[in-house]
């Protein structure tokens, strides 16, 4: 899969600071010359291939701007690498709670994931069920809109209802409303101890019931995943005595579903779950489906009746990664119908350029899509920021 270079991009713009970046966007807007925004370039193969004249890299906007461990906050330039942020936090035994996925394995890309890229796609890993999504931990942003105006919203404090929450709007906008230049996050203490409980050989339906039994318990489960045909795993994190006590109680509750093993990590590491490693390096299209957990297994079964499908369930069944043959439209119509049957939606995360050109990555939403188009027209009137990328 080609992911590094922008096809046909003649020019690479690499501003040294926010002011220069703003001037470049303003200039592109004046010329109506579309830009492909690039963080670390590890996820550039996502979404519709966009037809950009130039690539705008935020890589030179790097560095941690402010870190207050006692206030659980960190502020970083958008081009700072996730690795750099995580290392800074690790020195104080803290973490980015949302476990941002590393797409390099799944997408076969290289480069260094940036914090701006993670925010732009609202990257949220297994801890989503407990600590929230990337957007939940974002406290403030600075960005450059499509006219080249610098805008700030939110701040660096944990509670803030001063005006509209554009922070949420920018999280997951894939750069189509503005180029992020700086982001403030809430961080958390790193768990001192973790334990994974797992069962083998459960059917999808049973596995989801087991995960729900864990997630509806008072024992503060921090992740629950199931690989179809593989293990069903539950993670507990916290102070050591607490993890041990909760693991014991949870084991009793899960015993009804089969033999329960316990260790620090299960047969599949949480990193592998986070990065959807079971589908890395394997041919086929990869979909990411949000679903109601109690309806997830039936949705997958319905798909299986039509097409070969492999499934990795995260978030207790609230998120399903699907691997399916690329032929035709990569099963788009079927996958979307199955997702809707589970009251959810499907996003195409990996596919050939041909499929991606034919199939919108995002699930269409009547009503909401018109509002979204209105917002893009206001924030980026010249249509220069990743145009068409989020078209459904």
């Amino acid at each position: 899969m080609s992911a590094g270079a922008v096809p046909g991009a003649a020019e690479v713009l690499a501003p040294a600071d926010e002011a220069e970046l703003a001037a470049m966007v303003a200039d592109a807007a004046a010329r109506r010359a579309p830009l492909r925004i690039r963080g670390g370039g590890t996820r550039l193969a996502l979404g519709r291939p966009s037809q950009a004249a130039a690539e705008l890299s935020v890589a030179r906007l790097g560095g941690v701007r402010l870190y207050e461990p006692g206030a659980l906050t960190i502020v970083a330039a958008a081009g700072a690498t996730v690795a750099e942020i995580e290392a800074t936090l690790a020195a104080e035994r803290q973490i980015l709670p949302f476990e941002p996925m590393d797409h390099r394995r799944l997408l076969g890309t290289d480069g260094e994931p940036t914090i701006g890229g993670a925010a732009a796609v609202n990257a949220s890993g297994p801890r989503r069920v407990q600590a929230g999504a990337c957007r939940d931990l974002m406290l403030g942003v600075r960005f450059v809109d499509g006219r080249g105006r610098v805008v700030k919203n939110g701040g660096r404090v944990m509670k803030n209802v001063t005006g509209y929450d554009l922070v949420k709007l920018m999280a997951g906008a894939h750069g189509t409303l503005g180029v992020l230049t700086e982001i403030a996050f809430k961080v958390l203490p790193a768990p001192e101890c973790a334990a994974t409980l797992w069962l083998e050989g459960l059917e999808d339906e049973t596995a989801i019931r087991a995960m729900s039994a864990a997630l509806t318990s008072p024992w503060d489960v921090s992740a629950a995943a199931h690989l179809s045909g593989g293990p069903t795993m539950i993670r507990l994190e916290g102070l050591e005595g607490s993890v041990r006590a909760r693991a014991e109680r949870l084991r009793e509750r899960l015993a009804a579903f089969g033999d329960v093993e316990t260790a620090e990590e299960g047969p599949l590491s949480w990193r592998d779950v986070r990065d959807c490693a079971p589908f890395a390096g394997r041919p086929g299209a990869v979909w990411r489906v949000a679903a109601r957990p109690s309806m997830a297994a039936a949705a997958v079964a319905r798909l299986r009746a039509e097409r070969p499908v492999e499934a990795l369930y995260d978030w207790g069944g609230g998120l399903i990664w699907l691997l399916t043959p690329e032929q035709d439209d990569a099963g788009a119509a079927l996958v979307r119908a199955a997702a809707e049957a589970a009251q959810g939606h499907a996003t195409l995360v990996r596919a050939s350029d041909a499929v991606r050109a034919a199939v919108g990555a995002f699930h269409p939403r009547p009503g909401a899509d018109a509002l979204a188009a209105g917002l893009r027209a206001r924030f980026d009137p010249a249509g220069v920021l990743n145009p068409g990328l989020m078209a459904s």
Partner: protein
């Protein structure tokens, strides 16, 4: 505080507008008699009140949509309203407006413990959402002190917080979806019973938009399994600075309490006189730190907290030994606002600061208080830096309210300068509308107003709120208004 002149053209069409509304609604859903609309003249910011043209109390999304369609066609401003407990004047009407209250829409529509959500009509009160799931062992996490009365609709519009948000987050972190009526009457659904949504996060910007983007009629909310137990510890210090340093150290120590509450000397004594909670009266600052879990987990966390606190030479560490003692520890904190109200009128500020700035901000606030000659009592959520300075004054003494408001503005400016913000949970409304320029540059405000332009191109929903009147003036000119 200034409000725009009522639109004479709208007032002139009052009769016709009322007739149209009456045709569209059941008889008891429209109130226009000024004696009966009085209850809707203000919210909990009672210093400002104004009679609306009419009040509508629909029972369904369809009825809400009908009201919106008519008001849109007639160019009438609509003031969405939940329970009217807002502290920022967000539900304050204007003479040319129609209040749209959702309090009669309070049914539970769907409860799904397996998928950990509940769907309710938006007029349902916050506490009764928890009430609907507690038998199943669940609760709805955001718990504003007004939770007995306030509606989910108001919580969503204000992105309300609560005592336990250090661990569970505020409304936006617990909201999965809404059904909403747009300004022209169109009904849209944003989000739903899943943890992630495709496309732009419209739900995220609707939450906290203070009734300016649409009228929320239904909400899908995340519910959580109730923890096995909770226990507080009371820590007393001889200086607020030490208490502030202790807060930062607790957070750094790797335990995440569900709440860390701070009370200063003034509040300790006020509440002691009011409810006699038995707080140490020689303390300059008290912290209440609460942790959750099973008994052994609570013990483990409290042991860690005590070890940290001991390094700050506390005057006293009082760990609860049971439900009665827990209630006693919380008693004064819960009575703080009432106790203050007993001895004076007060304005409750809602600024937020980075917790590292706590000592400095408290010191400068004391200086301002002395300078203005008005007492300021401090009780707040220390874990997240959300201050609630209570500015005490005498409403009957001429000029004191204005003086208290000026002091309030200075305190909020101080919060912004310290790296914080004007409001952490009460919202901007009319109260802090004209202070917005202290936190945001013109381009920052314009970007926010662009969002309203998309959702409500004619600016009929709660138009004179949130943004300084000057900044929104050009947009508030009714483009689409009927003749």
């Amino acid at each position: 505080m200034q409000m725009p002149e009522p639109d004479a053209k709208v007032l002139a069409r009052r009769e016709r507008i009322l007739v149209r509304l009456a045709e569209a609604l059941p008889e008891d859903a429209l109130i226009s008699d000024p004696a009966e609309t009085r209850a809707y003249d203000c919210d909990a910011l009672t210093a400002y009140a104004c009679a609306p043209m009419a009040v509508t109390l629909p029972r369904s999304t369809e009825e809400v949509s009908a009201v919106m369609r008519i008001c849109h066609e007639e160019g009438v401003s609509v003031i969405p309203r939940g329970s009217g407990t807002g502290l920022a004047g967000g539900a304050l009407p204007t003479a040319d407006s129609v209040v749209l209250g959702v309090s009669r829409m309070n049914r539970v529509l769907e409860v799904c413990p397996e998928d950990r959500f509940i769907r309710v009509e938006a007029g349902r009160t916050n506490l009764s959402v928890t009430g609907a799931v507690e038998d199943l062992g669940f609760f709805y996490a955001p718990d504003p002190s007004s939770q007995l009365a306030c509606a989910i609709a108001g919580n969503i519009a204000m992105n309300s917080g609560g005592a336990h948000c250090l661990k569970y987050g505020v409304t936006t972190n617990n909201l999965l979806g809404v059904k909403m009526v747009l300004a022209d009457g169109e009904v849209v659904e944003l989000g739903g019973p899943t943890l992630e949504q495709p496309g732009l996060d419209l739900l995220g910007v609707v939450c906290g938009s203070e009734g300016q983007l649409g009228v929320v009629t239904e909400a899908t909310l995340r519910i959580l399994p109730r923890p096995e137990g909770a226990r507080p510890i009371l820590l007393a210090f001889d200086s607020p600075v030490t208490a502030g340093a202790c807060v930062a150290d607790i957070i750094r120590a790797g335990v995440l309490p569900v709440a860390i509450e701070f009370m200063d000397r003034r509040i300790i004594h006020l509440t002691e006189n009011f409810v006699g909670a038995g707080y140490p009266l020689d303390a300059e600052a008290l912290l209440i730190v609460e942790v959750e879990g099973s008994e052994p987990e609570i013990d483990e966390q409290l042991a860690r907290i005590k070890a940290v606190a001991a390094r700050h030479d506390p005057l006293e560490m009082r760990e609860s030994s049971g439900p009665e003692q827990s209630a006693a520890i919380w008693k004064g904190r819960k009575a703080a606002f009432g106790a203050t109200g007993q001895v004076a009128d007060y304005l409750c500020m809602d600024g937020v600061i980075p917790t590292s700035a706590l000592p400095d901000v408290l010191r400068r606030m004391a200086e301002l208080s002395a300078q203005y000659g008005l007492d300021v009592a401090n009780v707040f959520h220390a874990g997240d830096g959300n201050l609630h300075p209570l500015i005490m004054f005498d409403a009957n003494a001429p000029g004191q309210l204005e003086k208290a408001e000026r002091l309030g503005a200075e305190i909020l400016t101080l919060c912004v300068e310290a790296g914080g913000c004007l409001t952490g949970e009460h919202g901007v409304g009319v109260e802090k509308r004209d202070l917005m320029t202290r936190q945001y540059a013109p381009d920052d405000l314009d970007a926010q107003m662009l969002v309203k332009d998309v959702f409500d191109p004619d600016w009929i929903l709660n138009p004179a709120k949130v943004f300084p009147l000057e900044a929104s003036a050009a947009r508030r000119v009714r483009k689409g208004a009927a003749a």
